[in-house]
């Protein structure tokens, strides 16, 4: 499949990653709500039941706590489960298992047990699904020691982060932004493998650093193009991994540009964007020439009507404005 450059969607990239994992490691299996016969709520897992059978593609009851906890138990028992939770909003029903078991068992057992579990879930807004299906809570998970949190924003990461997550002996949460599934693009023949430990510069620039991840990466790159037309060269950093945070890549850029704006679809208060801002203060305060800016979602439950949803979310125009504000221009 990888002989030449090819057009692929984000959805297909995730499916290929799961398929490859199932083909290469007999310990890997997938479970979650409607992953089998239905083909996945976002059609990511379509066809996998036919190919791999119901032992390895397991449709579960609507029992998030039980099947996430069962994933933890199966990982403790030597398997390599991939658990799909339809959206991060539903993961709250399994939060106890994720925090009190998956994240703690390694440390609390004095290093005797590992939980090599992967949990995939959709996150974010943009499809007019209203408040209970549209939140971006990955920053909450990034608060928790013991977890790794990754946010594939590109086709290459969608295609290859899963393999890295399955190789990792820790619980890894993969957040797939809902607006990315239909995005298509070119996957070069030399794509992958990728790591799940470092941020990456997606666009080089010397005037301002724009730090983002996941669903706001493309919006941020759009904003950078707009800024470029006005002579402002923005450096765009895709965090890729929210925990552990690769602060060094951010700081290296900020020390160069001396200005930073953080773009996060999560809410502003008590958030990942606040954490990033603090890291910049701690690590690059004396190199800053302006205050760190933030573009986050409005502090409201994400509303249903298109115009209000768009207003609530970070948009390129707001990113441009924030970049100019921190530059004082």
């Amino acid at each position: 499949m990888t002989e030449g450059t090819r057009e692929i969607t984000y959805r297909d990239a995730v499916r290929e990653a799961i398929r490859e994992a199932l083909l290469t490691d007999p310990r890997v299996f997938l479970m979650g709500e409607d992953v089998g016969r239905y083909g996945g709520c976002y059609a990511v897992t379509k066809g996998l039941l036919d190919e791999f059978g119901s032992e390895r593609i397991r449709d579960t009851p609507l029992s998030e706590s039980a099947f996430v906890g069962a994933g933890i138990g199966a990982a403790l028992g030597g398997m390599r489960p991939i658990v799909e939770i339809i959206t991060v909003n539903f993961s709250l029903l399994a939060l106890d298992q994720i925090l009190n078991n998956a994240a703690t068992i390694r440390h609390m057992s004095g290093g005797q047990f590992a939980v090599p579990l992967v949990i995939r879930m959709a996150t974010g807004a943009g499809r007019q699904l209203a408040a209970q299906h549209s939140h971006s809570l990955e920053g909450w998970y990034a608060h928790i020691p013991g977890l790794k949190v990754v946010t594939p924003a590109t086709l290459e990461d969608a295609r290859f982060m899963l393999a890295a997550a399955l190789t990792d002996p820790n619980p890894v949460l993969i957040f797939e932004h809902v607006m990315l599934y239909n995005r298509s693009g070119v996957l070069p023949p030399d794509a992958g493998p990728v790591n799940i430990c470092s941020a990456i510069v997606r666009r080089a620039g010397q005037h301002v650093t724009l730090v983002t991840y996941g669903g706001t990466l493309l919006k941020t790159l759009d904003a950078a193009e707009t800024l470029a037309k006005e002579g402002i060269e923005a450096e765009v950093i895709d965090l890729r991994v929210l925990r552990p945070l690769d602060a060094e890549t951010v700081l290296t850029s900020v020390r160069k540009t001396r200005h930073a704006v953080i773009i996060d679809e999560g809410w502003r208060s008590g958030s990942l964007s606040a954490e990033l801002s603090a890291r910049i203060m701690e690590g690059a305060f004396w190199e800053l020439d302006g205050p760190v800016g933030r573009v986050c979602s409005a502090e409201v439950p994400i509303p249903y009507p298109h115009h209000l949803e768009e207003t609530a979310l970070p948009q390129p125009a707001a990113i441009v404005t924030a970049a100019k504000a921190t530059l004082g221009s």
Binding site: S65, G77, N101, G110
Partner: protein, 331 residues
């Protein structure tokens, strides 16, 4: 890997003495823990199991080394009955680095990879999904083991109990659910929190075979567990045992027990699983003069050794605080 245990207990003198010893060992260990708590050697929560010793001692006769065990925050008895060394458990009570969880878990979080003892879970019902997953791994990897999960009747009010019974039966997983019904979820009596207080009936509504056992009778617990485990190992899917029992001591060291009558506690003490079993053994002529004294002496010496071990164990260096937040070896 291990021969499956027989379906019936073999009531030889040696076996019965082993059961008695197992219960006395847990009782005396915990009594020592109370002393050590008063001396402030043990801190945090200390949930005593006194009165309920027949359950793990009886049940674990039916397990093999290949089986996985999950327990609650009242799990000293389960860890000891499972074969976690008393030295390591006592050192864990102290919070020392030689403890079975490196001192990080304490009383509520005993772990031991060697005996497949997966905690020590202090979130009520939090261990049930783990047991379901451990059983799933056994089944998918075509191994012989089962997963056994001990929990109190308070867990029955949690959604996870219902989710796990349904899921494990749906997938026909080799899980043994052992509900230790001691009537009180901390201070809330079963009838005050459940519209249907008969727990085994709830299990049956998920098509999970369930039976009620006298949890104060070690042989009854052993016999029931052997029978049920044989069915589970034969591919019969999960099963539930509701062991009716009673906690003689307070919920924790901070509980003034305002919610129950002293008379009720005294009444249950007449059914003390150790006294009752020893009397039965004596009546049937199995227990000889000097047997109990010999067991007590042996247990006292083991406990003394465990205290000395804990005392001489080390505090984990503060520099190692963040060790093992993450595993580093490749999965």
């Amino acid at each position: 890997m291990n021969k499956a245990p027989s379906i019936k207990p073999h009531l030889t003198r040696e076996h019965l003495l082993g059961l008695l010893r197992g219960m006395i060992r847990i009782r005396r260990f915990e009594e020592k823990c109370v002393e050590l708590y008063q001396q402030e050697k043990i801190r945090g929560f200390l949930h005593l199991y006194i009165g309920e010793e027949a359950i793990p001692v009886g049940a674990m006769q039916a397990f093999t080394a290949a089986d996985a065990v999950v327990a609650t925050y009242r799990e000293h008895g389960h860890a000891l009955a499972r074969g976690v060394s008393m030295d390591a458990v006592m050192a864990e009570m102290y919070g020392k680095a030689e403890g079975c969880s490196r001192g990080r878990g304490g009383s509520m979080h005993l772990f031991d990879a060697a005996t497949r003892f997966y905690g020590g879970n202090a979130i009520v019902a939090g261990g049930l999904p783990l047991a379901v997953g451990l059983a799933l791994a056994e089944k998918m990897d075509k191994r012989e083991g089962i997963a056994a999960c001990f929990f109190g009747e308070g867990a029955v009010a949690e959604g996870e109990f219902h989710e796990c019974l349904n899921l494990s039966e749906l997938w026909r997983l080799p899980v043994l659910f052992v509900c230790e019904n001691n009537l009180y979820a901390m201070g809330t009596r079963l009838e005050r929190s459940e519209s249907q207080p008969d727990i085994h009936i709830k299990a049956q509504s998920y098509n999970v075979p369930a039976e009620v056992v006298d949890g104060m009778d070690v042989v009854a617990v052993e016999a029931a567990t052997r029978r049920v485990c044989a069915a589970i190992r034969g591919g019969g899917g999960p099963a539930l045992l509701e062991c009716r029992t009673y906690r003689f001591r307070a919920h924790s060291m901070f509980d003034p027990q305002l919610y129950r009558d002293k008379a009720e506690v005294e009444e249950w003490k007449h059914r003390d699983p150790i006294d009752r079993f020893a009397s039965w053994m004596r009546e049937t002529g199995v227990l000889h003069d000097g047997d109990v004294a010999a067991i007590e002496a042996q247990v006292a010496s083991e406990i003394e050794h465990s205290v000395a071990f804990a005392e001489s164990s080390h505090w984990e260096p503060a520099a190692e605080l963040t060790r093992d937040v993450y595993a580093t070896e490749e999965a």
